[in-house]
Amino acid sequence: MTRKAFILIDADNFYCSCERVWRPELWNKPVVVAGSGDGCVIARSPEAKSLGIKMSDPVHLVREEHWRSGLIICSANFPLYGDLSSRMMRTIAPLVPALTVYSIDKNKLHTVDAQSKWGIYGH
């Protein structure tokens, strides 16, 4: 009997983490990424979460309420996130027999049988 194991990988605060790769001034600061034409919050650093900022909060309200706490608002930079996501998937891919990319920061590893050569699926 083949026993299957599935692992779900979800990168922490992915868009905020991406912004931080090249911007040390964002490290350890409350950071949110704004999407939809800077309309709403689509990612929050742990520091921003502890300020009580929620996903999809309107950016203008968040800015008004938290600018004194040094909140940094980044406009979404999807080419950057796509590049880093691709690097993450390519780092994981050789380690497992199969990998399903579920979204830009989530995937599922199939650790079933190291001999099987399953393809890598993405959408």
């Binding site: 090249w22 040390p24 001034e25 590049d83 691709s86 690097r87 993450m88 390519r90 780092t91």
Partner: protein, 146 residues
């Protein structure tokens, strides 16, 4: 200070067109006659990049690393998956700035050393303040100014 600038993404796949790779060691005196020793097809990516998903190209500014052969405007290949060891040339984040320096462990202290006698080494007093961002593996230096 050697500041660095982001150049953009590294192509993750090897290009289709490859360059011939000669196995003869080039003597800088006169050309080797053994140019029929083409061993395999190679590419610049293959030579300079061992782990593409972890590799970034950055452009250097400043003159603090000239004795290591890194000049203003050179493009360095940075591998974030490599472990920095004593004497590695690294891209570090120190006091919120990206810098390129040689990492030296010496008598219990950690130094970020410039390769230019006009500059002094940075002594890292609190190792918590130092982040090794990546290890520099290659330098692309333009030889011709034309």
């Amino acid at each position: 200070m050697n500041d660095i600038a982001i150049l953009g993404r590294v192509r993750l796949e090897l290009p289709a067109a490859a360059l011939p790779f000669f196995t003869s060691t080039l003597s800088c005196g006169f050309p080797s006659p053994a140019e029929d020793l083409i061993e395999e097809m190679s590419s610049l990516d293959e030579i300079a990049i061992s782990n593409p998903p972890a590799t970034y190209l950055v452009r250097c500014a400043g003159d603090s690393m000239i004795d290591a052969g890194i000049y203003e405007g050179d493009v360095i290949v940075v591998d974030r998956s490599k472990k920095a060891v004593n004497r590695s040339i690294i891209v570090a984040v120190f006091e919120g700035e990206f810098i390129c320096k040689r990492l030296i462990f010496s008598a219990g202290s950690v130094l970020l050393c410039p390769e230019n006698n006009n500059y002094s080494p940075i002594v890292i007093k609190d190792i918590e303040n130092l982040v090794v961002w990546g290890v520099c593996t290659f330098n692309l230096h333009k030889l011709s100014t034309i």
